[in-house]
């Protein structure tokens, strides 16, 4: 082996990723970040020290062998890198794009102690994209059993659970209420951050594992979770329906025309393709001066979508400061580059009426940060006499979601006081054979956390069904569960034409 790498010998600067010019991209829905060129990836892979304690692996919610796949990139063995990634991560092309790496793997990277951390997310995406381009799919040898597994919701949690259960040999059906599978990846995250082609490719991979998708199926109403077990012959069910019941601010003027949830704006634009109106029938609310309330990833998406739909000015209204903003750092940075105007420490108190039932403007107050609250973030307090009005014709609320009530209305699943499904550590619900995970259990979280929950639930489901899980039997719910069982290393290498 060559000379040992040290922090001094590796490339000091993080390899930048090519991006569309901010002025140009603010007008189109093409992907913002163009991905690494193979040379970029090679250079960035050299920055990994291959340190023995591997903090990045424990920083990853699904425990990807990060140094392992980076090493393969360095050896120009992309297929090998892909094999390592898919041992644990189901959807590298998606996670590389949407994971908040700065709080996970990259946040604890050893290189990051003195330099900028290794761009793990970008490298993951590079491998994921190469796989889609080359048509690689790792279909393991699957020994089928007689179990039927039903999955409610085709979002990240459902997809991850489906993959694991299919690999374990079960007959898996995923039910989706919308007309296309993908859940939040499809309706929520816009094309310029996660192109539909990437979602399609990952869904196609699931189909190759034998997973069936049934769209236009509202579980709870068309048939209940109980019926899935008692009448439809499912041996085990996973509920991953997401939270998705948008919160409104509850201030005067909330119901005026021109006030909508980020979910509505994004669903119309992404899933219903209202941006291509009138070729597509769904109308898209378009504002000249758009105010988006909130500073999470959804808020960033809503702002950047509004810009691309033709808004002249887009404001971000957030009651805390930039430091507390929950969005991925990269998203805030991209939004700033594109010309979004951020108003930190600003809180809306009323929506102003134009006299005809539509929005004319918004009344806000200035805030300052006080003592830390339960979440550890400093509580914003109103500055006396700081009220001011400004003009806006479209107001988007991106202030989080509550539990969707359908599961609670239609099943005997036990809920907690906020309406989320109550589970034990193994993600088992109060109903035998029924497991749940993702936002409907934890409240709004990230794509990768939902995937992690889907996999954890799958491990519990296998144990519930008595499916032997190789060398890593289910042990009650810590990180070890995220690991993959030994049998799954027997991948049959297929290359699909």
């Amino acid at each position: 082996m060559a000379k040992k790498k040290t922090i001094r010998t590796i490339p000091q600067e993080r390899t930048p990723m090519r991006e569309q010019d901010p002025v140009e991209r603010a007008k189109n829905f093409e992907e913002v970040a163009c991905g690494y060129h193979p040379d970029d990836a090679m250079r960035e892979s050299e920055r990994c020290l291959m340190c023995p304690d591997q903090p990045c692996v424990s920083g990853c919610p699904v425990g990807i062998d990060i140094p392992g796949f980076i090493k393969k990139i360095g050896e120009k063995d992309l297929r090998g890198a892909y094999d390592i990634l898919t041992e644990t991560s189901l959807l590298p092309a998606i996670c590389g794009r949407v994971c908040p790496q700065e709080n996970q793997c990259e946040g604890v990277c050893t290189v990051g102690d003195s330099l900028e951390p290794v761009a793990i997310g970008r490298l993951e995406r590079f491998v994921g994209d190469a796989a889609i381009k080359e048509g690689w799919a790792n279909i393991p040898y699957i020994e089928t059993n007689c179990f039927k597994v039903g999955i409610v919701g085709s979002g990240p949690a459902g997809m991850a659970c489906a993959a694991d259960m299919a690999k374990a040999g079960c007959e898996v059906t995923v039910f989706e209420a919308f007309h296309q599978p993908g859940g939040v990846l499809r309706y929520g995250i816009p094309d310029f951050r996660l192109p539909n082609t990437v979602i399609d490719a990952e869904i196609e991979n699931l189909r190759k594992l034998g997973v069936r998708f049934e769209c236009n199926t509202l579980v709870g109403r068309l048939f209940t979770v109980e019926q899935m077990i008692t009448e439809l012959g499912y041996d085990s069910v996973f509920v991953g329906v997401g939270a998705g019941y948008p919160t409104m601010l509850g201030i005067p003027g909330d119901s005026l025309n021109g006030v909508l949830s980020a979910n509505e704006l994004l669903t119309r634009c992404n899933l219903m393709r209202a941006k291509e109106f009138p070729s597509f029938d769904t109308p898209q609310p378009i504002g000249k001066r758009v105010a988006v309330v909130g500073a999470g990833n959804t808020a960033m998406d809503a702002m950047r979508v509004s810009l691309r739909l033709g808004a002249e000015k887009v404001y971000c209204i957030y009651r805390r400061s930039r430091k507390e903003a929950p969005a991925r750092a990269e998203e805030v940075h991209h939004a700033e580059q594109e010309g979004i105007e951020f108003h930190w420490l600003t809180n809306p108190v009323a929506v102003l009426d134009d006299g005809k039932g539509s929005v004319r403007g918004m009344r806000c107050v200035r805030m300052e940060l006080g003592e830390p609250d339960d979440s550890g973030r400093r509580r914003p307090v109103q500055v006396a006499g700081s009220e001011f009005d400004f003009e806006t014709d479209l107001i988007v609320y991106a202030i989080g979601t509550n539990a969707n009530p359908i599961m609670g209305q239609t099943s005997k699943l036990e809920l907690n006081k906020w309406g989320y499904i109550r589970t034990d550590q193994s993600l088992a619900t109060s109903m035998a054979g029924v497991f749940a995970g993702g936002d409907i259990v934890t409240g709004a979280a990230t794509v990768i956390e939902a995937m992690g929950a889907g996999r954890r639930a799958a491990a519990s489901m296998k144990s519930y069904l008595g499916i032997r899980d190789g060398a890593k039997p289910y042990d009650g719910g810590d990180e070890k569960l995220f690991g993959i069982d030994v049998q799954e290393r027997n991948f049959a290498r297929v290359r699909v034409a």
Binding site: H179, N216, E231, Y245, L260, T267, P283
Partner: protein
């Protein structure tokens, strides 16, 4: 019950009640089993289509079908009128959505349907009849020629009052006139259920308010997903905000803020008109091209 039987939303029968009102019976055995009075579906005509909510007008477990009665008012409903023929299929049909109407233990019930609400009030009337209640139906139409399902209603109503704007059949006047007549004759009505355009439901709620009769209405605001996710269908009920798709669509008519509902229904009027014009233009073009091709072929 097999899951694979769900797809393919084939139209098995169609009936035209007038030049704007038509009935579609669609095969969906699972939904026919699951549907209950007061629930609705979301329909997409094709891949480019919008998702439109429609109240279920009837369901038949034996035939495995659900029935929708549609008024051609906007782009999608007019395009459906043109394209939805027997043997064709819808691109998407999801449901049944919403909380089923609580068929209460009321002993005497007034079921009121006006305009596009006539069809969806039918399963409620039938539901009440099945519980043994005395059911009085009040249905409103513009004139005699637009009347439909009167026989069907007569079978499940103990009394049926038809109201027409011009008096060509039944009593002359709005459904509120019918309500008035029924209340005068039966002072012991326990419950009123009204479905129709917002202005009509508002009228019904106003008509029953002085008598303090429980009045349920079925709201039909603009929605996208129908599963509680977009919040587009939020309505003001008393001092609370509710989502019609998952908390409703049935609410206490005396608490509904109808003015707010009507303002919000007009949200996309401009864009919807644009969609309709765009579609009509493309239809015209297609016809012209078709005619030219035909005349060219003849030469």
């Amino acid at each position: 019950m097999k899951a694979s039987k769900m797809a393919n939303y084939e139209i098995v029968s169609r009936e035209d009640f007038s030049d704007v009102t038509y009935l579609l019976e669609i095969r969906h055995p699972m939904m026919a089993r699951a549907a209950k009075p007061g629930q609705f579906v979301i329909v997409m005509l094709n891949e480019q289509g919008e998702r439109i909510p429609l109240t279920i007008a009837d369901f038949d477990c034996d035939k495995g079908t659900i029935t929708l009665v549609i008024q051609a008012v906007g782009k999608t409903t007019r395009q459906m009128q043109d394209e939805c023929q027997v043997g064709t299929s819808l691109y998407a049909l999801v449901g049944p959505m919403g909380v089923p109407s609580p068929i209460s233990h009321a002993r005497k019930v007034l079921c009121v349907g006006g305009g596009l609400g006539v069809a969806p009030i039918f399963p409620q009337a039938r539901g009440f009849k099945e519980t043994g209640a005395y059911v009085i139906g009040v249905v409103g139409f513009r004139n005699k020629n637009l009347v439909f399902w009167d026989e069907k209603f007569k079978r499940c109503c103990d009394e049926l009052i038809i109201c027409t704007d011009d008096g060509s059949v039944g009593i002359k006047g709005l459904v509120t006139a019918g309500i008035q007549q029924a209340i005068e004759k039966h002072p012991d009505i326990d419950e009123v259920v009204a479905i129709g355009p917002p202005i009509m439901m508002k009228g019904c709620a106003d008509a029953t308010r002085p008598y303090k009769i429980k009045t349920m209405v079925s709201l039909n605001p603009v929605m996208v997903d129908g599963t509680g996710m977009c919040g587009g269908c939020r309505v003001k009920i008393g001092d609370q905000v509710k989502f019609a798709c998952v908390d409703g669509p049935d609410f206490d008519g005396h608490l509904v803020d109808f003015d707010d509902l009507m303002t919000r229904l007009g949200r996309y009027t401009k864009t919807e008109r644009k969609a309709l014009e765009h579609w009509e233009k493309s239809c015209r073009l297609q016809r012209e091209v078709g005619a030219r091709v035909e005349s060219a072929n003849q030469v």
